[in-house]
């Protein structure tokens, strides 16, 4: 068994494991993002971000991270990248854009970073 105590997870720098603790923080945010599977919800969000966030009961940390388009803050607030990807899709951000935003690189730098690992 690899989880001896109440703290199940090892510290991996630059990595936030989406476990129960994160899930408890982020449920409303993730639920809203899950709703973006449907076009009608994507359109409603685009039409009025604040009203849509409010209708899903997002807290201030969730909302501010979204207003700031700050991916790392969304994750810190309990967001799960699989659901957040549906939100970043609305913002027309590619996976490499999102990678760059989180690592302080431009998208081109981030793409080169990936290629360099070949």
């Amino acid at each position: 068994m690899d989880q001896p105590g109440f703290d199940y997870h090892i510290d991996i720098p630059g990595t936030t494991l989406f476990d129960g603790k994160q899930a408890m923080k982020g449920y409303a945010l993730n639920k809203m993002c899950y709703a973006f599977n449907k076009e009608v919800n994507r359109d409603a969000f685009a039409a009025d971000e604040e009203a849509f966030m409010e209708s899903y009961g997002l807290n201030e940390a969730h909302k501010q991270a979204i207003r700031d388009r700050d991916i790392l803050a969304m994750i810190a607030a309990g967001g799960n990248i699989y659901y957040l990807a549906k939100l970043t899709g609305i913002f027309k951000l590619s996976v490499q854009d999102v990678g760059g935003m989180q690592t302080g690189m431009t998208t081109e730098e981030f793409k080169q970073y990936l290629l360099d690992q070949a």
Partner: protein
Amino acid sequence: MAKILGGISTSHIPAVGHAVKNELHDDPYWKPFFDGYIKIHSWIKENKPDVVINIYNDHGLGFFLDQMPTFAIGAAHEYRNEDEGWGLPSLDPFPGHPEMSWHIIESMVADEFDITSCQELAVDHGFVVPMQLFWPGAPHNPDMPRAIPISANTVQHPIPTLKRALDFGRALRKGIESFPEDLKVVVLGTGGLSHQLEGERAGFINKEFDQYCLENIAHNPDLLTKITRQELVEKAGAQGTEFLMWMMMRGALGDNVTEITRNYHIPISNTASGTLLLECE
């Protein structure tokens, strides 16, 4: 009785769907990736499986956190590919094989696997991209087998252990092989290899670890069960945990397998992509 011909593992990167649609097979970025599937196509043409068991991980389409199963098995007449939020056109539904699904579920629950049975399930790129790779034009390829999706949780920790994943595959084998019709079955394991989408470590790839997994999965899979889930996140990246699907597939292939083809290429999108075709002996 049903017979398992072999297993095919592959990455299932969403960008592949796009490349397939735009026929980028000879594009310099994509060629080293698509070349990995040539031998797989011949093997499928020769063997013509009747049923494909597609072991993948859902990415927030078929399941949400309100009810997140560790292991889910489809038991529907067909599986719809739905919009994942990017507005991409969806493929037509994939015909299922609910009789075999129920047979497998009966067998596995009797063997103490706590299955979530899914009589309705929307399938995402994790299921669909490998189908497109192996059966071009899927689901309308004339050789398209009937499909049974199996999804394991890699979204919400705790995820299953590597040992449980391998044991799942072994119990799955028993369920498939006891099905009383003479059907040829292929098992897919989709996802991986190393990649990480989130955090300051986004873009993480680990060639050495991927090679270690590729070296051992065919003939020494039990060795890989020594890897803890935390180590898996550390060494394969947060989304590299999808390697669990490869372990599940491997378990279903029995003790002895022959490696027919292997491909490994960095990067496709953010991912170290890998493919492996193992034939049952």
